[in-house]
C-alpha cells in the first residue's frame, strides 16, 4: 500500500512547520526523512498517522484521501512508533503490546487465541518476551522502545511510520530493528538522525530543511558532501561502504562548516 503526501503544508500559530511537501512512498519501499532539528520531519510524519491534519494538501493512502477515512480504518493500515509515548499507569508489557489490536477489536472484546499468539510472536521478534509480565514503568528507554515496536507489529499494518526508532537503542538493537523494517516488506516512512543508518536501510531519502523538501532520491543521489554542508552545516566525506557499497559519511570533530567557509 503506497503513501503519497501531496502538497501538504502545516501551519501552527502563524508559523509554517511544513511547506508544500510532496513525497511518495511506494508499496514496500523504505523511505527515510532526514534533516536538522526542527526541519519538519516529525510534523510530516504526524500527518501520516493522523495526529495532525495538514492545513493544505492531502495525504493519500493507497489511493484514498486519508482525511476521509474513519480513524479505526486507517489505524488498521498505518501503525506508528512515536517519540512521545508513555503513561504513568503501570501496565504490563504484555498489556501494552496487546493494545496494538485496538483498531481490530470492538470495545472490550477479548483477544482471540491467534491474536495472543501474534502478540507473543511480536514480543519474541523484538526480544522482549522475557519482559512480558513486567511493568512498563520499570523498563529502560531502549526496552520500552522495543515494546512499542512490538505493539506496532501486532497492529498488522501495511504502512509503518517511525519517528527516530533507533533512539535509546544500543547498536545491536538499532540494526535489529532496521533489519526488521527491511524484511517486513511493508511500506515504511522513517525519520533517522544517523545518516549512515539511513543510507543503509532506505531505498530513498527525502531531505527536509526549514519545512521544505530540498532533495529526494536514492541515498547515493542525496548524500553528497555539498548537500550535507548546505543542509546540516557540516563538512563530511562520503565513501562507499566496503561491503555493501552504500554511501557512508565520515566526519571529523572540527567539521562544522561555518568555521571553514569557504569550502572547496
Amino acid at each position: 500500500m503506497e503513501v503519497r503526501m501531496d502538497g501538504i503544508s502545516v501551519s501552527r500559530s502563524g508559523r509554517e512547520l511544513v511547506r508544500d511537501l510532496s513525497l511518495e512512498v511506494g508499496s514496500g519501499q523504505v523511505v527515510g526523512l532526514i534533516g536538522p532539528n526542527g526541519s519538519g520531519k516529525t510534523t510530516a510524519l504526524r500527518c501520516v498517522y493522523r495526529a495532525l491534519k495538514p492545513t493544505v494538501g492531502t495525504v493519500w493512502l493507497g489511493g484514498e484521501d486519508l482525511a476521509t477515512l474513519p480513524l479505526r480504518r486507517s489505524a488498521r493500515s498505518v501503525a506508528a512508533l512515536t517519540q512521545e509515548d508513555g503513561t504513568d499507569l503501570d501496565f504490563t508489557v504484555e498489556e501494552i503490546v496487546a493494545l496494538g489490536r485496538t483498531p481490530h477489536l470492538r470495545g472490550n472484546q477479548a483477544l482471540s487465541a491467534r491474536e495472543r499468539e501474534l502478540c507473543r510472536g511480536a514480543m519474541a521478534r523484538l526480544g522482549v518476551l522475557h519482559l512480558a509480565g513486567r511493568s512498563v514503568l520499570t523498563l529502560s528507554g531502549g526496552e520500552r522502545r522495543r515494546v512499542l515496536a512490538a505493539r506496532m507489529l501486532v497492529q498488522e499494518p501495511q504502512v509503518l511510520v517511525l519517528d527516530e526508532p533507533t533512539n535509546h537503542l544500543d547498536m545491536r538493537h538499532q540494526l535489529d530493528l532496521l533489519s526488521l523494517l527491511r524484511e517486513s516488506g511493508l511500506t515504511v516512512l522513517v525519520t533517522l538522525h544517523d545518516l549512515n543508518l539511513a543510507s543503509a536501510v532506505c531505498d530513498r531519502l527525502g531531505v527536509l530543511s526549514r519545512g521544505e523538501l530540498v532533495a529526494s532520491g536514492t541515498p547515493a543521489e542525496v548524500l553528497t558532501p555539498r548537500l550535507i554542508r548546505d543542509v546540516f552545516g557540516v563538512t563530511a566525506s562520503v565513501v562507499p561502504h566496503p561491503l555493501t557499497g552504500d554511501p557512508q559519511l565520515l566526519y571529523s570533530l572540527s567539521s562544522s562548516a561555518d568555521e571553514k567557509e569557504p569550502c572547496p
Binding site: F91, E95, L99
Partner: protein
C-alpha cells in the same frame, strides 16, 4: 525507483544477530498482577458480599447499637412486608428511615466517586486528578447552593438540586479545561494547578452565596457543601444518584480499552484508531453528570476519587476494564466505613465525611507526588 547499488544492498543490516538474551519464561520472578477475567469476577463477587455485610453492620451501629442479626431481621421485615411488634417501632424507624438510606447513599457515592476518579485519571493522563482536585466538585457545590439559596431551576421540581449541581460541574469542567489548554494541548501539571485554583475560587463563590442566604445556618451549609455528609439522606434522595452511578459505571466500563489507550496520550490513541479528543469530551459530560448527581445529595467529598483508583490498581494492575469492575465495590465499602466513623467518632455530633477522607487522602496525595519515577507534568 531502482537503486544503483549492487544487490543485496542491505547486507550490513542482515548479519545474523548475536546470541539472543537468555529466554526466560514470561514474567519469571515478576509479580503477576494481571488477573484473569474469571478471577476478576470472583473477586468482585467476594467484594459485593463484603459490601452487603458492611452495610448491614453499619446500619446496626450507632447511638442505639443493634446486633447484625437483629438488623437483618428488621431489614427483612421492611423488604418483605413482615410484621414487628409495637415496641419495636422506634428501632425499626431508626433502621429503616434513618440509617438504611444513609448507609446505602454512602455506598452508592463511594462507588461513584471511585469510578469517576478512575476515568478522569485516564482521560487527563494524570495520577493526581479527580473531580475534587479539578474543581468539578466545587462547581457542582456552587450549582447546588445556588439552587437552594436563590431557588432557581424550580421547573425541575425535586430534581432542581441535581440539575443545578450538574450544570455547575459541567461549567467548572469547561472552565478548567479552557484555562489549562495551551498551544500544545493539555499538560498534566497545568491542568492540576488550574483545577486547584478554580476549586478555591468556586469555594469562595459558594461561601459568599451562603453568607448572603437569609437563614442563619451558614456554617453548617458551608461545611456540608465543602466537606460532604450523608446526614441528609432519605429514601427519596437515592433513585437519581443510584441510577446515575449505575449508568455511569456501565458506560465507563464499556470504554475500558479506550481508556487504556487514552492513558497513553492522544498521539498514540490516534495511531491506534481511538479519537481521544472526542471520547474525552463525551466522557467529561458523563463524569460531570455523575459528579453533579453525587454532590447534590452528599456535598463535595474529596480524595476518594483520588485514592481508590490507586488502591485498586495496586492489586489488579492498570487495565481499566478490570479496575472499573473492582473499584465500585471497594469504594462503596470504604465509604460505608468512613461514614460510620464520621457519625460515631465524636457522637452525638458528626464529623464531615471529607475530614476523614482527607486524613486518608492527603498522605496518599503526597506519596504520589514524591513517588520515584512519577513525572509530575514531565510531559
Amino acid at each position: 525507483m531502482v537503486r544503483s547499488f549492487p544487490h543485496p544492498p542491505h547486507q550490513g543490516l542482515r548479519r545474523p544477530p548475536p546470541p539472543a538474551e537468555p529466554a526466560r519464561p514470561a514474567g519469571e520472578g515478576e509479580p503477576h498482577r494481571r488477573m484473569s477475567p474469571a478471577a476478576t469476577v470472583a473477586v468482585a463477587a467476594g467484594l459485593v458480599i463484603a459490601l452487603a455485610v458492611s452495610v448491614v453492620a453499619a446500619i446496626g451501629i450507632g447511638s442505639a447499637l443493634i446486633p447484625p442479626a437483629e438488623t437483618a431481621r428488621y431489614l427483612w421485615a421492611a423488604l418483605t412486608g413482615g410484621t414487628i411488634t409495637a415496641d419495636e417501632v422506634t428501632t425499626y424507624q431508626i433502621i429503616w428511615q434513618v440509617r438504611a438510606p444513609r448507609v446505602l447513599l454512602a455506598a452508592i457515592v463511594g462507588a461513584g466517586l471511585s469510578v469517576v476518579g478512575v476515568a478522569v485519571q485516564a482521560m487527563v493522563r494524570n495520577a493526581l486528578a479527580d473531580p475534587f482536585v479539578l474543581g468539578v466538585s466545587s462547581g457542582a457545590s456552587v450549582g447546588a447552593v445556588t439552587v437552594s439559596v436563590f431557588g432557581v431551576f424550580t421547573a425541575f421540581g425535586v430534581y432542581a438540586m441535581s440539575v443545578g449541581a450538574f450544570a455547575g460541574a459541567l461549567l467548572a469542567s469547561v472552565l478548567v479545561f479552557a484555562a489549562a489548554q495551551g498551544r500544545t494541548g493539555l499538560t498534566p501539571l497545568r491542568l492540576v494547578l488550574t483545577g486547584v485554583a478554580v476549586s478555591f475560587a468556586l469555594q469562595a463563590v459558594m461561601s459568599v452565596i451562603i453568607y448572603l442566604a437569609p437563614d442563619g445556618e451558614a456554617t453548617g451549609m458551608v461545611l456540608y457543601w465543602t466537606m460532604g455528609s450523608f446526614g441528609a439522606a432519605t429514601w427519596g434522595s437515592l433513585p437519581v444518584v443510584a441510577a446515575a452511578v449505575l449508568l455511569g459505571t456501565v458506560v465507563l466500563r464499556r470504554h475500558g480499552r479506550a481508556l487504556d489507550v487514552m492513558a497513553l496520550g492522544d498521539e498514540v490513541s490516534t495511531s491506534l484508531g481511538v479519537d481521544g479528543a472526542r471520547i474525552r469530551t463525551r466522557l467529561f459530560v458523563l463524569t460531570s453528570l455523575l459528579t453533579g448527581a453525587m454532590v447534590a445529595v452528599s456535598g463535595a467529598i474529596g480524595f476518594v476519587g483520588l485514592v481508590m483508583p490507586h488502591l485498586v490498581r495496586l492489586v489488579v494492575g492498570a487495565g481499566h476494564t478490570r479496575v472499573l469492575t473492582i473499584a465500585p465495590p471497594v469504594g462503596a465499602i470504604f465509604m460505608v466505613w468512613v461514614d460510620l466513623l464520621s457519625r460515631t467518632l465524636v457522637a452525638p455530633r458528626e464529623l464531615p465525611v471529607g475530614v476523614i477522607t482527607a486524613l486518608v487522602g492527603v498522605p496518599v496525595f503526597v506519596i504520589l507526588i514524591r513517588r520515584k519515577g512519577y513525572l509530575f507534568g514531565g510531559r
